[in-house]
């Protein structure tokens, strides 16, 4: 499934501007689902009907937006200032490039730092698109960009911008392809928008669908690198991480157990995840209306929110297996 | 109906000592269910785990009788295993401790079996004196077992609670690990007990909410599901003690504090105040300047808006294992709630208008 991962991660879709990636996903899944629609927030909602006799609804969500930038000002000399769409980390971006929706490429640079020992704030950064004045600058206030890095293979790993969360989108697409039996429940495959700016798409999407269970597919941090940002017993290559808690939710215990049971029965390697800081669409789904049982399959990912988010290909394949296994044998408390 | 009057002190003790870290409230839910059962017509647990007891009123309207929701949260802050590190247990917190209170506390790790443990503290002889506190991710729990035993018995995601039996500091003051917010749950039980012998028209939804400490999550979904006409959250407030500014402090033993501010419907504040004065229940006033950090915040913003009140039970040492409250304040809170509810009738909602708010109390 490397092709579909590559297609997803190299697509364009900063938060709030997911049009292009949505069209690409729609093309992939149209033949595999029974109904498909786009809601007011831009969520792509695809229904795969179940046999229907238990009338239950499962919402599976991966977000199709990625962190990005929006032009906030073009100065007299044609240098571009930008604001962040989602959690952009300035030190990851300086020296890299961004691509605007109209194809313009810009180099990300920064002003002199008052204190070179301190990481720069976003307002110290600017983009050089080769313009000489405001008039010949090919981008304007309000134009959006995503960071630029093509997917590469690092041994058994894949690195790219936007693994968060296009790898989740790819897993959902692959699961749709791999599902052999008609599930007992109606399954809503939702490719959500604006997750990176506060789970906004999942919030309205879940309200509209009103599911019985929600499952998010998203990336999580790891503790397997030199002096990691946070200590964490999750490593890439050790299997999908079954979330127990993050700063947005405590996973509904029986949903977590359902995941563990399927993984154990099918001999899929897995790890348990307690994430300090960070949340996923599952948190929004869980709090929807009168409450929804919810959990999250996490793909361990190094260097999240950098242009080189790195995952293990084996973990991705195993996540597909876990998701398919769950959907083919749904459990409701 | 129960014959003997309830023993509030005993209830408070059993509530505080029960385990119920946010998201895993099963044990304390069982204790509360037992306490609710004699007084409620129906009891259910919703998707998030809120325990919802319904005590039906005598008013007209059948299933759509007017509803008042009482919310006290049953979850407590706690710890969770993040990593097993060479036989020692690393953890993060569920809810917000001041990490400085953690070293040298006795804990229980809820692994495959319950493991008694200690949050390790490096002796000052070795660490040297330092004015820096130890960050959470450098602390660990020692359960005194071999590495292989620990690996077998504990894993990532297991809960850890601070062990702290309830202590009577005086005739009236109790000290325990989870009076935030089990003291309020006890007040709700007291209210139900009084209402079991008092006529009331409105349906009362007594809700022990979950996951308050991690973001008011239970109250958010609970209030949506119940869709009450009025909501009252009961929580603890900062008791006066050294280090607490007077503008935030309420005093132990001087009665429940009635909150005012944008989060609170002025008519609900006025109604609780009038009730307290009528029934000679001592009370204090607590001022809040925006959304409060309590279930009242979530309830007010539910659906198309719910008139919401907040009653605070004064508590010292909040978010430590030695939270201290006054039993009298708990009883008074229960009585205030019951007296207020008994006064709710078919005309009450008609009074919840915004025609005369003009800056302050009349």
């Amino acid at each position: 499934m490397k092709d579909i991962i590559k297609k997803m991660v190299e697509g364009f879709g900063p938060s709030g501007f997911e049009d292009s990636i949505r069209a690409a996903i729609r093309d992939e899944i149209q033949p595999l689902v029974d109904e498909i629609r786009v809601d007011a927030m831009g969520n792509l909602i695809a229904l795969k009907k179940g046999t229907g006799h238990d009338g239950k609804k499962i919402m599976v969500a991966a977000h199709m937006d990625e962190i990005g930038a929006m032009v906030s000002y073009v100065d007299k000399k044609g240098f571009v200032r930008f604001t962040n769409l989602g959690g952009v980390v300035p030190i990851f971006e300086v020296g890299g490039r961004m691509r605007f929706e109209n194809g313009t490429i810009g180099v990300i640079a920064m002003e002199k730092l008052e204190d070179p020992k301190k990481a720069p704030e976003l307002e110290k950064l600017y983009v050089d698109v080769g313009a000489t004045s405001r008039d010949d600058c090919p981008v304007n206030v309000g134009d959006v960009a995503c960071f630029l890095q093509p997917m590469v293979e690092l041994g058994p790993c894949l690195a790219s911008k936007a693994m968060d969360d296009r790898v989740g989108c790819a897993i959902m697409i692959q699961a749709l392809r791999d599902m052999k039996t008609k599930p007992a429940a109606d399954i809503y495959f939702v490719f959500t928008t604006q997750e990176e700016v506060g789970l906004r798409g999942a919030t309205t999407g879940a309200f509209g669908i009103n599911p019985d269970v929600g499952i998010a597919i998203d990336v999580t941090g790891t503790g397997d690198t030199p002096e990691p940002a946070r200590k964490m017993a999750v490593s890439i290559g050790a299997g999908p991480a079954i979330k127990i808690k993050d700063s947005g939710m405590v996973v509904t215990p029986w949903v977590k157990d359902w995941m563990i049971d399927v993984a154990t029965a099918q001999k899929i390697p897995f790890q348990l995840e307690v994430l300090v800081g960070g949340a996923t669409d599952a948190a929004a789904i869980q709090k929807s209306r009168a409450g929804v049982a919810a959990g999250c399959i996490s793909i361990p990912c190094r260097y999240i929110h950098s242009p080189s988010e790195t995952v293990s290909y084996a973990d991705v394949l195993n996540s597909v297996k876990l998701l398919v296994g769950m959907l083919e044998r749904p459990v409701f408390n | 109906m129960k014959d003997e009057p309830m023993d509030v002190k005993a209830l408070l003790k059993s509530l505080s000592e029960a385990c119920g870290v946010s998201g895993y409230e099963d044990e304390v839910r069982g204790v509360i269910r037992q306490a609710f059962e004699p007084y409620c017509d129906e009891i259910r647990v919703d998707t998030m785990g809120n325990l919802i007891g319904l005590k039906k009123g005598s008013g007209k309207g059948g299933a759509r009788r007017k509803r008042v929701m009482l919310a006290g949260h049953m979850d407590e802050i706690g710890l969770m295993v993040t990593e097993i590190d060479q036989g020692f247990i690393r953890f993060t917190q569920v809810g917000g401790y001041d990490t400085r209170v953690l070293p040298a506390q006795a804990v229980t790790v809820f692994g495959r079996e319950r493991l008694p443990g200690i949050i390790a503290s490096v002796p000052p002889h070795v660490s040297g004196s330092s004015d820096k506190s130890t960050p959470m991710d450098e602390l660990y729990v020692d359960v005194g077992l071999s590495e292989s035993q620990v690996n077998k018995l504990a894993r990532v995601g297991d809960l850890i609670t601070l062990d702290r039996p309830c202590v009577e500091l005086s005739d009236d003051l109790l000290c325990g690990k989870a009076f935030d917010d089990r003291a309020s749950v006890a007040a709700i039980v007291t209210c139900l007990e009084i209402l079991s012998q008092t006529a009331h028209e409105w349906d009362v939804y007594a809700v022990a909410t979950v996951q308050e400490e991690v973001g008011l999550r239970g109250a958010t979904t609970g209030a949506f599901g119940i869709a009450p006409d009025l909501g009252i959250a009961i929580d603890v407030g900062f008791g006066k003690q050294p280090g607490v500014k007077e503008k935030f402090a309420i005093i132990l033993g001087k009665g429940p504090a009635l909150a005012r501010g944008p989060n609170i419907h002025p008519k609900l504040f006025a109604g609780l105040k009038a009730t307290a004065e009528k029934f000679e229940i001592p009370y204090q006033v607590e001022v809040t300047s925006g959304g409060t950090g309590t279930d009242a915040n979530a309830i007010q913003l539910t659906r198309d808006g719910i008139p919401t009140g907040l009653i605070s039970i004064p508590e010292r040492n909040m978010h430590t294992p030695v939270e201290t409250i006054s039993i009298k304040d708990v009883e008074r809170t229960g009585r205030l709630l019951a007296c207020y509810i008994a006064g709710l009738d078919a005309d009450t909602m008609g009074q919840f208008v915004w025609d005369d708010d003009n800056g302050g109390e009349k």
Binding site: M70, Y73, R200 | E246, K247, G291, L301, W354, D357
Partner: protein, 345 residues
């Protein structure tokens, strides 16, 4: 002028009664339905003119509340201590006049005289925790008789004409929006279902707007605001959030809302067609009721349209009356012309 009346009115978040009364008495005969909900929002409906298929439902929101203060307690000497309501910068507080509570008790915010301060102290901002309000009370009892804990307070500034074509006053955020919305009601009815909503408690977390949007469930929403404008000369070439006199500011993205791009581009095109100047508010700054409205229920495309205001959240803000009138014209025109087909993703 309506704006003058609104600006002078008393209405910190949670205590918008005086403003609400002014608004209601001005509009109640012009709308088909008017309700005050449990958070104090004024929610109105004007039926669509004409018949035919289900009309579009457009909500337009402006918030009644302003930043202010709330009295926490009186001390033994009769001084009132307070907390801030909403985002007031501590730097603007010392030596300002306020009015407090139902009795509109006058008071002044005080700090110790300059003679008794050290150079080091003078370099630091005085925290609002260290400021008190003097109402001339001799002691605690005398103070509490006039002002109880929990009473609200706001600045005592009066509206005035200012410079050339400008006006100054307190609470322009968002009484300016309220005045725009009242004018829009007066220009109705419209060929769509119009739901004007005067919201409460915006400054303390978009509280009113959230529950109002749940009730209204609009297809499209406009948020009428007055927004940050810092167009004073700057050393660096970094632009300003908005500029005064350059017309209504359309939001592209702020801290709580990414505006549906088709909607904001549509509005910019309408401004051009109408011959009204408009500007984009610099992205990434501030937030409005739109942050709550656009993600309530199943969501609705939402666009903030703002009158640039210098010095908002202070006792004295400044707007241009031309910007104000252009904002009314543009908002009306956008509402009259927009269709769902224009903005669907």
């Amino acid at each position: 002028m309506m704006l003058e009346k609104l600006s002078n009115a008393f209405g910190p978040s949670g205590c918008e009664g005086d403003v609400r009364r002014i608004v209601i008495s001005d509009i109640k005969s012009r709308v088909d339905e008017l309700t005050v909900d449990h958070l104090g929002n004024v929610i109105c409906r004007m039926k669509a003119t004409g018949r035919g298929k289900k009309p579009l439902r457009i909500m337009a929101a402006a918030h009644l509340d302003e930043v202010g203060m709330i009295i926490t307690h009186a001390d033994d000497d009769g001084f009132l201590h307070f907390d801030k309501i909403g985002g007031i910068d501590d730097r603007i507080l010392p030596a300002k006049g306020v009015v407090i509570g139902a009795g509109k008790v006058p008071g002044v915010i005080i700090a110790k005289p300059v003679h008794l301060t050290s150079a080091e102290e003078r370099g630091k901002v005085i925290s609002h925790d260290d400021l008190v309000i003097d109402i001339g009370a001799a002691n605690k009892d005398a103070a509490v008789k006039k002002c109880a804990p929990g009473d609200y307070a706001t600045f005592d500034t009066r509206f005035r004409r200012f410079g050339r074509g400008l006006v100054a006053g307190k609470a322009f955020d968002d009484r300016v929006g309220c005045a725009v919305l009242i004018e829009l009601i007066k220009r109705g009815p419209y060929p769509f279902e119009f739901c004007p909503v005067f919201t409460t408690m915006e400054e303390v977390g978009l509280r009113g707007a959230k529950v109002a949007a749940f009730k209204v469930r609009p297809d499209i929403a406009l948020v009428l605001e007055s927004t940050i404008c810092e167009d004073s000369p700057k050393e660096k070439d970094r632009g300003s959030v908005t500029a005064i006199g350059k017309g209504p500011a359309l939001s592209l993205a702020d801290r709580g809302l990414i505006v549906n791009r088709k909607l904001v581009r549509f509005a910019a095109r309408r401004a051009a067609a109408l011959g009204v100047p408009c500007q984009f508010k610099q992205p990434g700054i501030g937030g409005t009721d739109g942050g709550a409205i656009h993600k309530e229920g199943e969501g609705a495309p939402t666009l903030p349209v703002s009158v640039p205001a210098r010095y908002i959240h202070s006792p004295m803000a400044v707007i241009s009356l031309r910007d104000f009138h252009h904002t009314i014209d543009l908002a009306e025109d956008v509402m009259r012309h927009v269709t769902l087909a224009d903005i669907q993703p």
